[in-house]
């Protein structure tokens, strides 16, 4: 019971500050927290990235394996995106099979990567209908302070661009030998998340904001600025105008994020 009353008090507090033009952490309404992206942080992964977004920290690993293609795409590699919300990263994350939030995170990040066509999956065919490369993207938040969507998508594309192909011998992968060849990546999709608290629209909600938000909108953009993915969240609503406006102004924020990707 106390939990719910505290939630109300918190929401009042956050909203009152916003009415005065202030965010809980002092940022502008349209401002990202400090972003940094480091790649090649993991020697066991073919590609990896460590993203810091304020106090949110996410490790993304890309592993390659070989396997059967899907029957309807016999000459194409396979992309699999997986998230784990390990309880190390937050007292609210629980052990056990992936819950709704974990699945949504993995699917929304996957959407931007997949729909932008950034991975040239058609180049990942080893033997048509028989053997193709499977690209595993593992999203691994380490410290959770809000907005995993943007942090994980940024980490995913940064890790993909940093992915080296392992050696292939007789249809088996020799993980200990890395080739010079990189995973073919032709686009750099990122996702930008706004939230709505009361009547205010805010970029990049931190945890304190995420816990009290009414609605959330995540939009994925490719390099050309085209929209490749969207996901609305939260039990509240947006007006039509708010959505159109978010989608428009998110485009330049996407460009901002993209500049943090090394290489």
């Amino acid at each position: 019971m106390n939990q719910d009353i505290i939630a109300d008090i918190r929401k009042d507090h956050v909203e009152r500050l916003l009415d005065e033009g202030r965010r809980v952490d002092g940022r502008g309404f349209d401002e990202y927290r400090k972003v940094s992206v480091e790649v090649g942080v993991n020697e066991r992964a073919e590609g990896s990235a460590l993203v810091t977004l304020g106090r949110t920290r996410v490790m993304v690993g890309v592993k390659l394996a070989v396997g059967m293609p899907f029957p309807d795409m016999p000459d194409s590699g396979v992309l699999t995106t997986n998230a784990e919300l390990i309880p190390l990263a937050s007292p609210t994350f629980e052990r056990g099979p992936p819950d709704e939030d974990t699945v949504e995170l993995a699917r929304v990040v996957d959407r931007a990567i997949r729909e932008s066509g950034c991975i040239e999956l058609e180049k990942l065919c080893i033997e048509e209908g028989e053997l193709v490369w499977i690209v595993f993207i593992d999203l691994h938040p380490l410290d959770y302070d809000g907005n995993l969507f943007d942090a994980c998508t940024l980490g995913a594309i940064a890790a993909l661009k940093n992915t080296y192909m392992p050696k292939l011998e007789d249809g088996k992968v020799d993980y200990k030998t890395r080739t010079e060849e990189k995973l073919p990546v032709r686009d750099t999709p990122v996702e930008v998340t706004y939230c709505k608290i009361g009547r205010h629209i805010l970029l990049d909600p931190c945890l304190e904001e995420e816990e009290v938000l009414d609605a959330r909108l995540t939009v994925g953009y490719n390099e050309k600025g085209e929209i490749v993915a969207m996901q609305k969240g939260g039990s509240g609503t947006f007006t039509k105008e708010e959505i159109v406006d978010i989608v428009r102004k998110g485009r330049e924020k996407a460009e901002f994020l993209r500049q943090h990707i090394p290489g």
Binding site: D4, E100, R111, I227, K232, F238
Partner: protein
């Protein structure tokens, strides 16, 4: 080009199933179709056949999930094994889990959950036959089932998708368009206020295309809304007669 992909999506200004760009597939909604459920609805929408049932407000188990300030709304989207061409293994998959979540959030925006603290309201959506657009059909059915159960809501929630196929912005994609088209944009609204309570998109759209598709989807929702109200009216009349 994927196996089965059509060469053209629009022939002589008509879509492959004969529809115009802004035309819905045939839509039939019936309320109060199940005996055991507190409220229910059946939706046939093109090749989609969807049942929704509502149970509640009712005691909540396990107890610690109860909320002292409002009813807990729980939604479960599920596909029958025989609802798709390749038999689906029973049990929730990742796609179903995501749809259950966005459906719940869409409905939470209209249900007066604060009227029933410490209780649960369960909504079950069962896809019996699928032909693209099942999440919109499910939400559409679910809000009718809630109303049929007498759950107080500030409005119904109609849902409809728009998308892009062969370079054209079209309403309410059917399976061929969904599988091989360029973008799909499902939307659910609160008709009285015009608020957007569900919005997802995958594919590729420019800002202009997005705005055009978004407008079209909202118009589609308004058509769905009329069918929803009609279904509830008929169910009410039928019940009065009994």
């Amino acid at each position: 080009m994927k196996a089965g992909e059509p060469e053209e999506f629009i022939v002589d200004g008509r879509r492959l199933d004969g529809r115009r760009m802004d035309e819905l597939r045939p839509l039939k909604i019936e309320a109060g179709v199940l005996k055991r459920a507190d409220g229910s609805a059946y939706v046939e929408w093109g090749g989609n056949k969807v049942l929704a049932a509502c149970y509640g407000p009712k005691e909540i188990h396990p107890r610690h999930e109860a909320n002292p300030k409002r009813a807990v709304l729980r939604t479960y989207y599920s596909m029958a094994p025989f609802s798709v061409y390749e038999r689906k293994r029973p049990g929730p998959d990742r796609r179903s889990m995501e749809i259950s979540k966005v459906t719940r959030q869409a409905l939470e925006s209209v249900v007066f959950t604060h009227l029933y603290p410490m209780t649960a309201i369960d909504v079950f959506i069962e896809i019996l036959q699928a032909q693209a657009g099942t999440r919109c059909a499910g939400i559409t059915a679910a809000s009718v089932a809630l109303a049929d159960a007498g759950i107080p809501m500030r409005d119904l929630v109609p849902a409809c998708a728009a998308g892009k196929v062969g370079g054209h912005i079209v309403l309410d994609l059917f399976d061929v368009e969904d599988n091989y088209g360029e973008a799909d944009l499902p939307v659910a609204i609160v008709p009285r206020t015009g608020e957007i309570c569900l919005m997802q998109m995958d594919g590729n759209l420019t800002q202009e295309e997005f705005e055009q598709a978004f407008e079209l989807a909202i118009k589609g929702c308004m058509q769905v809304y009329e069918k929803q109200k009609e279904a509830l009216r008929k169910a009410y009349e039928k019940r009065s007669e009994e």
